[in-house]
């Protein structure tokens, strides 16, 4: 069995400690339900453990692998949920699309949580709340030019954070 495979209980615990927070955060974001998200995380680690021998650290990180498994679990859960009430009439098969969107939303939000407060603040105020630079500058007690440069460095920090959490355009 290759090193890093989740063959022992200890490996599972270590992998859980390192990645469960993110996996859960994303599962909540995409399933919109904390109970289902717990189920998804549990199922993800079970599948990872079953397939432990197939994990090859040379190909990708454990994190990427776990996210790939979670992706399938979320799609399965979404399907199961969709088929419960009114599948006969609609017959709508949840596609991969909503998953990719949810993943992207989660990645951007997670990246926002990782950048500095000052950077996040100016992005929220100027972009999401659409407030003028002068107003935000006055509120923060800094020159307008500082707000502008924080927007710039904020976007750069966001780019780095996105790369860190595996965003790949």
């Amino acid at each position: 069995m290759p090193p890093g495979a989740l063959s022992r209980e200890r490996d599972v615990r270590e992998a859980y400690a390192a990645h469960a927070g993110e996996l859960y955060g994303f599962a909540v974001r995409s399933l919109g339900d904390s109970g289902l998200a717990e189920e998804a995380v549990q199922e993800t680690f079970l599948r990872a453990w079953r397939a432990g021998a197939r994990f090859d650290p040379q190909i990708g990180s454990l994190r990427t692998w776990l996210f790939a498994i979670l992706r399938n679990v979320v799609i399965d859960l979404g399907r199961a949920r969709a088929s419960r009430p009114t599948v006969a009439e609609g017959g709508i098969e949840p596609t991969v699309e909503p998953f990719e969107e949810a993943l992207l939303s989660w990645q951007v939000e997670e990246a926002m949580r990782r950048i500095g407060d000052q950077h996040r603040r100016v992005l929220v105020e100027t972009y999401y709340r659409g407030r003028p630079y002068a107003e935000v500058a006055a509120e923060l007690g800094v020159p307008e030019g500082t707000v502008k440069s924080r927007v710039y460095y904020g976007l750069r920090a966001l780019r780095v954070a996105l790369e860190e959490i595996g965003y790949d355009d």
Binding site: Y24, Y127, Y167
Partner: protein, 223 residues
């Protein structure tokens, strides 16, 4: 090199990527961009990030949801249960290919193994009372055609401690079930076996370091 001259322009690139630059500043910046491939490259990279912003909901920026603390144990418990199932499967396969003819093997499977799996004597959880504080020992016994499978969980002994496991039959006869070493940080269970039917097993003992602890086994033969 245009780095020094670019610095000021650079800091406007974020606002530009977000469409927040006032008209006259934008015109001046665009004039600079015409002649500066580095700034153009930086703008295009920032624009890639800016395009993603509408995907996010600022309501979610402050706190990430965290899994309940109990989830870690649930995950491990699920995997333990799965591992037990897997062992039973392997055992059946092992018997099927053990050299006897397939027909005999199939008969053996039907007679001995299947009752052990789901029906028959259920698995037994054994708890050890009056242990020294800090030491934790628990065991689960599973019935099998060959005897009893023993899962030992030990916690709190010095790392490397030798643990010898034995079972006692109806008339106090002691049978060794093997030994293992407790390693600090490894919380997986040690799996041992004894050639004594679970239904005839009266007690489970383990010698940890220099001390012996014995726990009664409720083998289901009440009175």
């Amino acid at each position: 090199m245009t780095t020094e001259r670019c610095r000021e322009w650079r800091e406007s690139l974020g606002a530009h990527a977000l469409g927040q630059l006032p008209e006259e500043e934008r015109a001046a910046l665009e004039a600079h961009l015409e002649g500066c491939p580095e700034c153009r490259a930086e703008l295009s990279s920032l624009a890639g990030v800016a395009r993603l912003l509408p995907m996010a909901d600022p309501e979610h920026f402050d706190t990430a949801p965290t899994p309940p603390p109990s989830l870690a144990d649930q995950v491990v418990a699920t995997i333990r249960a799965e591992r037990r199932k897997g062992r039973r499967r392997r055992l059946r396969l092992g018997l099927a290919f053990s050299g006897v003819t397939a027909v005999v093997a199939a008969a053996a499977l039907a007679i001995f193994v299947l009752p052990g799996g789901s029906g028959g004597t259920p698995e037994q959880h054994v708890s050890f009372a009056s242990l020294p504080s800090g030491l934790h020992i628990a065991a689960t016994l599973e019935p099998h055609a060959y005897g009893t499978e023993i899962h030992m969980y030990v916690k709190g002994a010095p790392s490397g401690t030798l643990c010898r496991v034995f079972v006692r039959g109806p008339n106090g006869v002691r049978q060794s079930a093997g030994s293992f070493r407790y390693r600090w940080g490894d919380d997986s269970d040690a799996v041992l076996s004894a050639a004594l039917d679970l239904s005839r097993t009266k007690a489970l003992g383990v010698r940890v370091g220099g001390r012996t602890f014995v726990a009664p086994v409720d083998s289901g033969e009440a009175a």
